[in-house]
Symmetry: C2
Subunit: 172 residues, 2 copies
Amino acid sequence: MSLPHALLTSLLERPSSGSDLARRFDSSIAFFWPATHQQIYRELGRMEQAGWVEAMPEARGRRKVYTCLPAGRAELERWAREPVDVPVVRDALLVRLRADAALGPLGLEGHLRDRLATHESRLAAYEEIARRDFGRELDRTARVQRAILEAGIAHETQAVQWCRGALAALDA
Amino acid sequence: MSLPHALLTSLLERPSSGSDLARRFDSSIAFFWPATHQQIYRELGRMEQAGWVEAMPEARGRRKVYTCLPAGRAELERWAREPVDVPVVRDALLVRLRADAALGPLGLEGHLRDRLATHESRLAAYEEIARRDFGRELDRTARVQRAILEAGIAHETQAVQWCRGALAALDA
DNA sequence: GTAACCATGTAAGTGGTTACATGATTGC
DNA sequence: GCAATCATGTAACCACTTACATGGTTAC
């Protein structure tokens, strides 16, 4: 259950409303912890109950801006030390490949080309961010942030290469 | 919802009982579609209802051996042509790294070393399988099977390298 | 024959997804 | 002023997880 802690981190970086968070998740955190606005609002409600965050309704506006409280910060530090599971991977394309091996050619080349295109475009986007945000001397904070981005870059690079190899295996 | 189709594929390869499937999932399919025995029994029940598989109670035994029926095979072929989503990644370690960047050093080196060890050991296991099962001329079926294994090898290789880089980023 | 284990299940809980609702704000 | 959009939700559903149950089989 990392969503509340991802939200706490995001709120530490900058106090935000639910919709702000939904947008920021979409553009940055989504690649390692995607969340919809429904999840985010539900979780913000729980976190307010727990006393981890505080909601400030904007004067003249329907928005509520949330701030991380000291209890939220303490919870984040406590949680960071908990054991971490290796993330589970569930890839329906590999299931399809196994079905192809069992049944004979199923015409999966199109699926593989689609996926290759997705990974190539994500990789290009991440590399652009790396150039823009980390093309200089880095302090510790920036080095850790870059390590997070490098996880995405490494993942997409590997995926691109694998797709090409798998296409060759189907083709030959 | 790929579990039923992973099970159909497994049953095509060899008719099996629920506990057989649970064991085989653990040793091979688990790395791209893990499932517990509870999930497997429930799904086998649904698949029998749907007429995709047939259950044969063993004479003198509590085991039920399931076989894939033609309708199951047809369903598998139909499903293989459906669009495939790129799998979602949710990695709580990256959330922790982002918290570290926001809060200051949280001592995540231990978590990273644990994960590195996990990936190294999985990688060694996959490479052993690759040597044992694919160290020869390969027909198409074997090439596809090797492509599936290569997905695991590529993933673990990338993860090992990333962990080392991330440890360096925290250390320096 | 009894203890340990094996195969098959049931039940409750949780996080995430999808579909829909509502009222406030902005653009024209 | 009216339509489109925005911010904040509610509700139902579903796959997966975890904990427990039951009755048959095997080892000794």
